[in-house]
């Protein structure tokens, strides 16, 4: 018993000065565990270790456990994607149906604004000439050798 108390005393001294190894600390905790017959001088150490163990077992109160957002099921993710794709397709289709052409050239609808403007400007300039077909014929005749 005397030897055991001496051992506890040595280990307690090392533990108090933060020099004890993990093995020594484990041994000390075992020796002063509650229930073991100990001199009164070590009562406080036994209480300390018991208190540490109890505090280490504390948990976050259960009634306020963290509730993280649930993961979305895969089929809902797929359905959402399909719905979005369908909405985009309908939008594009209706836009195509409702847009007006800028003009018609030889019965063909021209949707491109730049093409439409350049074509009509060219035709406007040509129309301003006096009898353009006859003028063209004369030019051809003049150019013959």
């Amino acid at each position: 018993m005397e030897a055991r108390n001496e051992r506890i005393d040595q280990l307690a001294e090392r533990w108090l000065t933060a020099q004890a190894t993990e093995e020594e600390e484990r041994t000390l905790r075992e020796l002063v565990r509650k229930g073991a017959a100990l001199p009164e001088a070590f009562d406080d150490l036994g209480m300390l270790f018991e208190g540490f163990d109890d505090l280490a077992a504390e948990t976050l109160p259960t009634e306020r456990r963290i509730a993280l957002p649930a993961r979305r099921p895969l089929h809902r993710i797929v359905l959402s994607g399909l719905a979005a794709a369908a909405a985009i397709a309908v939008g594009v289709f209706s836009w195509q149906q409702h847009r007006e052409p800028y003009c018609y050239v030889d019965g063909k609808a021209i949707y491109n604004k730049e093409v439409a403007l350049s074509t009509t400007v060219y035709l406007d300039g040509f129309a301003q000439l006096d009898d353009p077909i006859r003028l063209m014929d004369r030019l051809l005749e003049d150019s013959r050798p």
Binding site: D43, M47, L48, A56, E58, I66
Partner: protein, 168 residues
């Protein structure tokens, strides 16, 4: 970090986080709030969390959050309240185990914050000295000095409490 990794690596730390926050804040309710808030924040930013070193990162983030709270709410006053609160609660004769735990908790509450923190990390959470040094931003020798002082002081406080019948 993926959702599954978050669940496997971060969520299991919540009890440890709670105990650490409680030791720093000396208030179970505030510790719960701090842990809850931090976990929510980490959850929303989990994509930016690295898998490696997740635990030290989380504990450091919690520590910073607790110290922010302490700075804002005048820690010294609350610490005194926590210590004096012991006399009222211990008057009710509750289970012996509960008393031991509360007695040690109140004794720890009397320590200066730095000693309290290091003692909690070492003697309650079981962190190695090296990791405590990293968490608390000091070297291992300093940790040992702080820990030694904390243990000596804690023993004295506890002996005094036991001699006084746990009324002071």
């Amino acid at each position: 970090m993926k959702e599954s990794e978050f669940t496997a690596r971060i969520l299991p730390l919540r009890d440890r986080m709670f105990r650490y926050a409680r030791t720093l804040l000396l208030s179970a309710d505030e510790a719960e709030d701090a842990v809850h808030d931090l976990l929510e924040r980490l959850w929303t930013e989990r994509e930016r969390l690295a898998c490696r070193q997740a635990e030290p990162f989380v504990m450091t983030a919690l520590r910073n959050r607790c110290y922010d709270l302490l700075r804002r709410r005048q820690a010294v006053e609350r610490r005194n309240d926590a210590v004096t609160g012991f006399s009222e609660r211990s008057a009710a004769a509750e289970a012996e185990r509960w008393e031991t735990r509360e007695l040690v908790r109140r004794a720890i509450a009397r320590l200066p914050s730095r000693q309290r923190e290091v003692l909690c990390l070492k003697d309650i959470e079981g962190y190695p000295t090296r990791e405590i040094a990293e968490l608390t931003a000091c070297d291992e020798a300093q940790v040992r000095v702080i820990l030694s002082r904390a243990r000596h002081e804690l023993r004295e406080v506890l002996q005094k409490m036991m001699n006084d019948g746990g009324t002071k």
